[in-house]
Every structure is written in structure tokens, then in C-alpha cells.
Amino acid sequence: MESRTRKVLILFIIPALAFYLIFWVQPVLMSFFYGLTDWNGLGTCSFIGLKNFQTLIKQGTLFSSLKNTIIYAIFVVAWGNIQALILAMILNMKLHARGFFRTIVYLPPLFSTIVAAFLWSYVYAPHYGMISEVFKLMGKTGAPDLLGTSSTALLAVAFVETWRSSGMMTIIYLAGLQNIPSDVLEASQIDGCTAWQTTRLVKIPMISNTITINVMLGLINGFKSFDYVFALTGGGPGDSSSTLMYSIYKMAFVENQFGKSEAMAACAFVFILLISICALSILKRKEIEL
């Protein structure tokens, strides 16, 4: 390629690069720096080395929000994918009004996260919420307060995430299933596969790259989870549903501990980077094996 063309092409990258460097790369580098200081938003800040990290470890905040984030992400990936795969298989069958079902399955992702959170805060509300009302209808008392109990709050929040994002995953799975050549399915039928065998031995291996995509999507959403925690529990009760992103936000905006908050962000960054690399390499290897 002639050098003039190369120069023009490099010019094409400049606008995106400018946005990216100013508003994405620079803040991240700055936050690494703030993480080493005791800045609280007012006055001067001094360099305190790794003390923020020590405090985070000593207070247990780092460990507990890391644990919560991992549980959240695992639930979102596992349940989200199972739910979406089953939905996609159902919507791939011969059904009356299949088009209608395929349309409404994408309804939840259209709601904003804050609206989804409102709908589900009604479902979970103690005494007059949907779950309580259903309990009453069945003549039972003692409906669980899922968001208000520290052992269930985190998963109750994660469930809302899977409810809202399942429609998107379903559509991606559906496209994967429709891409399986029909002669392969016919061949498996002629060979005498049962429906379950066809699913396990033919369909699932043939959509393995779709599974990779959806698992990565779930992982990324899971590790960045913030909106639902923010709107549904505020990290509570206690710190039982506080994820990494929510803890970072809370430290900065509620507690005004900017230095500590950014130290936490640095940990989160390294952690997500490592997980993404691992997950991608494992899934890629699996894809080839299948």
C-alpha cells in the first residue's frame, strides 16, 4: 500500500482515538494514580502508596464485593444461558403464533434497567408485592422478603438481570439454531437419534460459537453489574448484595473516599482483565474440540 494511503487511513482513526484517549484511557490511568493517594475530594491529597489496598483487604470490603460479583456473574451466566437456550429451542419448534412469541420474548430487553428494577421491586415487595400476593392466594403466610434478607438479596437481584437480558440471548441462540444445516439434522434422524440425542450431540456442539458469545456477554454484564444493585437494594442488607462496581460507586459518592474507591477500581480492572482472558481462551479451546 502506498504511504499516502496509509497516512490517510491513520487520519481516519484519529477522531475515535481522541475520544477514546480523553474520556476512557485517561480516566483509567488517573484512577490508578488516585488509588495511591488519600484524596477525599476536598483539599490536598498526599501519596500514601499501597495503604488503600491494605485497608480494603483488612476491612474485608474487597473480598466481600469480589465474592458477591463472582456469585452474581456465575448465576447470570449459568441461569441466563440455560433459560435462553431452552427458550430458543422452544421458539425454534413448530408452534402456533410462533412469530408472536418471538416478538414478545424481546420485550424485557427494551425496558431500561431502571424500569426493570421498578417492576421487580414490586414483585419482591414484602406484604403487598406479587410474590406475597401469590402466597396469600394459595392460603399461605410468611412469604419471603427476598431483597430484605441477606442470604437471598444478591441472587434476587441477579435474577432480574437474567430476566431482562434473556430475550437478547434467546435471539442470538435462535439465530445459531437456525444456522444448523437441515441435512445434518435429517441425517441424525435417519441414524435414529432421539430428540434429546439430537440436541446434545448435534445441536449444542454446532452452536458452540454462539454459546461462547452468550457466555462472554453474560460474564461482562455480570462483572459490570451496577444498575440493579443501585436501584433494588443499594448493596444491602449490610453489604450482602454489594458488587464491585456498586462498592466503587458507593465509596466515591456516598462516603467521599475517592482514593480508596479508585484503589478498588484498580483491583476490579485487573480482576476483570484476568477473568476475560481466561474465559476466552478456555471457550476457544472448547469450541475447537467440539
Binding site: M1, T5, V8, L9, I10, F12, I13, P15, A16, F19, Y20, I22, V25, Q26, P27, V28, M30, S31, Y34, I90, M93, L95, H96, A97, F101, T103, I104, Y106, L107, P108, L110, F111, S112, T113, I114, V115, F118, W120, Y122, V123, Y128, M130, E133, I171, I172, A175, T210, I213, I220, F223, K224, F226, M245, I248, F253, E262, A265, A268, I272, L273
Partner: protein
């Protein structure tokens, strides 16, 4: 002759059997979706209820009044918020489309080390989440005198969407747009910009649609960046006005209005979806396969 009749009758039975099976499955699926969407259905019926009705929300569709809607409409300052949302989303998506397709195209055509570097460099941005560096972002926006203007959330929306959009666009060009066409146009004397806008962009329509759907819908629905950077009430976007109702979550009597607000804020995008469903599906799928 008799065997033929028997056979066909057998076939008829089989077909009948199949139809029944299909109906049963359809009913099961319908039941599943009723449960799956029950929060939406109950909230929808709740939004039409009389304010003084204190019975269970499970008694769906007993009333029809638009009182809650008019209350929510006023509290949200609907037209103003809608206009703000449309403006922010539209500008963000347009800027995003232009700069990320230019960069994505360049990265695909550059080849060599530089191209690889940029591809990985931009992609790495996907692991960053806005919450991680809010304080620095806030300071940078202040320094650029962008705080409390729409420029702030727009710049952040564009930037946050750049990593995925460039990645998608580069892959799309690499896997399907032949270089020969561009070469021919170049020989005919067209400038690089003209080649890009007149030849490359039309060929990459699926990738552009995919960027609009996968990035535009989250921008439309986002409240975080607007919450950080817009404080004046007349600047509020639709998702941001929803935060006004957070206090009502504690108060059982206000659910009607809250539900009405939920649907008011979702109606625009549901309308868009109902007309452009085809593009939503193809955009998501292209994004997933190439991304």
C-alpha cells in the same frame, strides 16, 4: 385398495395426533410466557387502576382510568424529557457511527503491526466500566467546561460504545467487503473519504444497523451518565426522570403512578421496535456473530 385406504387413514390419524401435540405445546408455551411476563402484565393493568382501590394487584384489568398516566406524565415532564432523550441518543449514535466506522475501516485496511495494535488497544476498553473511573471522568468533563451540558453524556456514550463498535466494524470489513472495489474507485480518481462514504459505507449497512441496535438501545436506556453529568431539571432524560419515583417504591399507594411512568418511559422504544423488529433481530445477530 383397502390397504391404501387404511394407510391414508393411519396417516390422517398421525397428522391429527401431530396437530394436537402442537396445540398442547403452544398452550404450554403461552402459559410460560404469561408467567415470564407476569410482572409486565400486572404492572400494565395496575397502571390503569383507580387510585383508591386497595385490593390485590393480581386482580388484573378491573378498571380503566388514565389518572395515573396523567399524574406520571406531569411528574416526568414527559415531552421535555422525551425530547432530551431523543436528542442525546440521536447525536450520540450519529457521532458514534461516523467515527467508529472510519476507524474500524482504517484498522481493517491498514494491515501489519499498527493495525493489530489498534485493534487490541480499542478492544481492551470493553473491560472498563464507567463506575471504575467516575471521579477522573468528572474532573475531565469539568476541565473541558462540559459539565451540565448535553455534550458531557454524549461524549461519554460515544466513548463507551467505541470499543465494541470498532471491533464489530473491523471484523465486518475483513470478512466480507472486497478490496478490489475500493481499488477500482481509487484508480478512477476518487478520494479516500469519498470511497469510504460512497462505496464502503453502503456495503456495510448490516454492521451499521448492528451498531445502532446494540449500542443505541443501551444509550437510550442509560441513566448513569446522565445522572452524573446533568443536574438541571430541564435537562433530564426519560430514564433519569424515573429516578424521581425511587422514593415511591416504599409507598404502596403510589404503585399505580410508578407503573404508569414505567410504561410511559418504555413506549417510545416499544413503538420503534414494533416497526423495525427485523432490524433489531438482524442487528443483534450480526453484532453477536461478528463481535
Amino acid at each position: 385398495m383397502t390397504t391404501a385406504v387404511k394407510l391414508s387413514r393411519n396417516g390422517y390419524h398421525k397428522k391429527n395426533h401431530k396437530v394436537i401435540k402442537e396445540i398442547v405445546i403452544t398452550i404450554l408455551v403461552l402459559a410460560f410466557f404469561l408467567i415470564f411476563l407476569s410482572p409486565v402484565i400486572i404492572a400494565f393493568s395496575g397502571s390503569f387502576r383507580n387510585a383508591n382501590d386497595t385490593s390485590s394487584y393480581l386482580n388484573v384489568f378491573r378498571y380503566f382510568t388514565l389518572d395515573s398516566y396523567s399524574a406520571a406524565w406531569g411528574k416526568m415532564n414527559y415531552f421535555r424529557s422525551l425530547r432530551n432523550s431523543v436528542l442525546v441518543t440521536f447525536l450520540s449514535v450519529i457521532i458514534l457511527l461516523i467515527i467508529s466506522s472510519l476507524a474500524g475501516y482504517a484498522i481493517a485496511r491498514l494491515h501489519g503491526k499498527l493495525s493489530n495494535f489498534f485493534q487490541v488497544f480499542f478492544l481492551a476498553g470493553m473491560i472498563v466500566s464507567a463506575q471504575m473511573s467516575i471521579i477522573p471522568m468528572y474532573r475531565i468533563v469539568n476541565k473541558l467546561h462540559m459539565s451540565n451540558t448535553f455534550a458531557a453524556p454524549i461524549a461519554m456514550y460515544v466513548t463507551a460504545a467505541i470499543p465494541f463498535s470498532i471491533f464489530l466494524y473491523t471484523n465486518f470489513i475483513k470478512s466480507g467487503v472486497p478490496y478490489a472495489l475500493e481499488e477500482a474507485a481509487r484508480i478512477d480518481g476518487a478520494s479516500m473519504l469519498r470511497v469510504f462514504f460512497q462505496i464502503v459505507m453502503p456495503l456495510t449497512k448490516p454492521a451499521l444497523v448492528s451498531i445502532v441496535i446494540t449500542q443505541g438501545v443501551p444509550i437510550w436506556n442509560d441513566f448513569f451518565f446522565s445522572m452524573l453529568f446533568l443536574s438541571a431539571p430541564e435537562q433530564k432524560t426519560l430514564p433519569l426522570t424515573m429516578l424521581n419515583f425511587i422514593g415511591d417504591m416504599e409507598n404502596a399507594t403510589q404503585w399505580n403512578i410508578l407503573f404508569a411512568a414505567c410504561f410511559l418511559s418504555a413506549i417510545p422504544i416499544i413503538l420503534v421496535y414494533s416497526f423495525l423488529q427485523k432490524y433489531f433481530v438482524s442487528g443483534l445477530v450480526t453484532g453477536a456473530v461478528k463481535g
